[in-house]
Symmetry: none
Subunit: 417 residues, 2 copies
């Protein structure tokens, strides 16, 4: 089945906002076996929206728009679709309930402008929005045999509506589209070219499955993808390739991307009834932020100390001043002492630390920009890890936070042996 995406919003055509919604939706639809053939961006202009809806309906089975469902005068997506299909907007009972419920939960009056958000084409399906006011709308146009799906523009709302409501709607109306299955690994501590050479046989023979290497912050994503008529068929195609990968890359340098690393860390800590604290220098809070991405993280994350200055390292983490002078703040010794310090001070099972040179200044021949030391302290003593990241300040810091979580996992996995 053919899907077209229409993104609306003048901020996209002005170039002020990068269109991340289109890529996200494209990936999700492809995963479900749909084929995305066109993506169009237009401004908040009724005539152009109409034309785009009509053109897309002539080519695609499903037309998905994002944006323009809010309460302001510039939110004209519903109106434009109604004009395009020669219909009109009527107040929708279900949409009215959704909007009223949203404000009721927040103990606020429904603003008069939100009446717009209760409107829909006749016989629309209202798509619940758990993150915002305006619900999405699904509408089937008999004349063009096209299903229109209108989603809100803010990414968090768009994703919530898609995941919670559109996916079941698609399953109910269009059934199984075949399966595109990927197996994704995070691979740590290799450069991209080295990794490609390790798998040159697969790179050269690829058609189905395919193999791809994507540089991410702190790791390379290695992805194999197969297209089969069923999940089992796709799994059978992937199986031998999974085996090659797992044979060639040692377990402590890869993990499956099925779970995100926050989930993997959470599970490992919960199973051990362990708690963790951070001591962060170059990441300055990013590791703590990552460790609390999941709801319920207060079960294992207690807190931490951001020790950007040496004074804080010495006073709050009890890193010996002589050690800071002798080895410098970015060193194996200080990384270990920081991890021990936060573990002791916060009173947790594990302590993890980062200290490095995020740049762009501050690098030397001996300690270049991108060098980061990590410490992990726990019941089995203290270990240090190091890595040399390539990138700008932001990507080095993101990479370091990712790698800190990886170090904690490696430490916990070693414990079991």
């Amino acid at each position: 089945m053919i899907v077209e995406l229409i993104s609306t919003g003048s901020e996209l055509l002005l170039g002020d906002t990068i269109n991340t919604n289109a890529a996200w939706l494209a990936r999700e639809f492809n995963r479900l076996g749909y084929s995305v053939t066109h993506q169009t961006t237009i401004g908040d202009n009724s005539q152009r929206m109409c034309d785009s809806f009509i053109t897309a309906a002539g080519r695609a089975d499903i037309v998905v728009s994002t944006g323009g469902l809010g309460p302001t005068q510039g939110d004209i997506t519903r109106d434009s679709l109604a004009i395009a299909v020669g219909s009109e907007l009527v107040k929708n009972e279900m949409a009215r309930c959704e909007v009223e419920e949203f404000f009721k939960k927040r103990k606020r009056e429904v603003p008069p402008a939100s009446e717009r958000e209760m409107m829909a084409l006749p016989d629309s399906t209202i798509l619940h929005n758990s993150c915002g006011v305006a619900p999405g709308i699904a509408y089937y146009d008999e004349a063009t045999e096209t299903t229109f799906i209108l989603l809100p523009g803010p990414p968090a709302e768009m994703k919530a509506v898609y995941t919670e409501t559109v996916v079941p709607y698609l399953q109910q109306h269009f059934g199984n589209q075949g399966v595109v299955l990927s197996e994704r690994y995070a691979v740590y501590g290799y450069r991209e070219l080295v990794l490609e050479n390790m798998f040159m046989d697969l790179v050269k023979s690829q058609s189905n499955p395919t193999i791809a290497f994507l540089i991410k912050n702190g790791y390379i994503e290695l992805r194999i993808t197969a297209h089969g008529e069923s999940k089992t068929a796709a799994e059978l195609l992937l199986a031998p390739w999974k085996k090659y990968i797992e044979e060639r890359i040692p377990t402590d340098r890869r993990r499956s991307l099925t779970d995100n690393i926050e989930e993997t860390v959470a599970k490992a800590l919960l199973v051990r009834q362990g708690t963790v604290a951070t001591a962060e220098s170059c990441t300055a809070g990013l590791v703590g932020k990552r460790l609390t991405n999941l709801p319920g993280s207060s079960a294992y994350f207690m807190g931490g100390i951001l020790s950007y200055s040496n004074d804080v390292k010495a006073r709050l983490l009890e890193v010996p001043e002589e050690m800071l002078v002798e080895y410098g703040a970015v060193s194996e010794q200080v990384a270990k002492a920081m991890a021990e310090g936060t573990r002791r001070s916060v009173g947790t099972t594990y302590g993890i630390s980062t200290t490095g040179i995020a740049g762009p200044g501050g690098g030397t021949a001996e300690k270049p920009v991108g060098l980061v030391w990590f410490g992990v302290s726990g019941p089995n003593g203290t270990r240090a890890f190091r890595n040399d990241f390539i990138g700008n300040r932001e990507s080095i810091r993101q990479s370091a936070a990712e790698y800190a979580l990886h170090c904690l996992l490696v430490y916990m996995q070693e414990e079991r042996k």
Copy 2:
């Protein structure tokens, strides 16, 4: 003059790559006074490319494509344009020189596949590519009175060709298109609808300038945009609108988006020779991360305490246990005590704190998900701020980090009075 952008590449339609080229080109063309009305993304498919070129030529004066100019079999943009306008490809002397020069400089033979990169439509202008092999192509089609500009897909090459070659080409062929100028504000503590109502007179009368409201994490971006024959003409159009905005929104609830907030905070701290420490609960490090986004932030950011658990709040920040019991961790009192605690413990001029309910669980009728209290402590005592954010866990936390920086700025601005 109307410009349309066509992005080609299956990786865009698969959602593996986010289309940053389109936003970049849109911004650049808008800056030069051109009007970008459509942006379309299609895969490496000849028929769809032809259709897109023909459709775009019917609407626009200039059609700009990115991608598909390389040497592989999948690079079919030139061929598709030739079919679309009923022409053919011929070897172009200028393009041949460009390609040969590229390899000559690198002391390499011209690979046979690069013959494709020497082809162009008859009477094309070849656009020099200082970053890669394939030059861009500009071609004027008399039948449709449309100028087609084909650019390479890799962002660095696309930008180099645009900046070095396309801009002078546009100047030469189309002259001065005037100037589009925007003034952008971050506005804090208003709902979108309230803000729109405050400016309904401008919303209703808008044509040039225009006004727009965009929901961001922690603030609403208010943008006014004017199109004038010169920079001065555009500034004159914007001036009265700037005045309305600055009269209607108090200074402590807005800032110009010319600087990012990290820069504004850095400047305010440096001018006061002030230092800052964080005490973070719901943001768990995100405020510290934001305060260290800029190189050189060690001049004012000393460190902080992530106090996710009440135990850490009590022990490391000396928040009285009775206070935690009586008011709860998410309260005005605790926010203030946290800010005071980190200021005292780290030893800084200012302390800032966050404590809130990031969700999705943990909300009550009295303290719903999205409620965040902020504390700022400094030489002029301690102040608390509150906000109620809408969104998911991630956007609530991002909004809270943004708002914490805003609170610190407000506190420092008040000092001057």
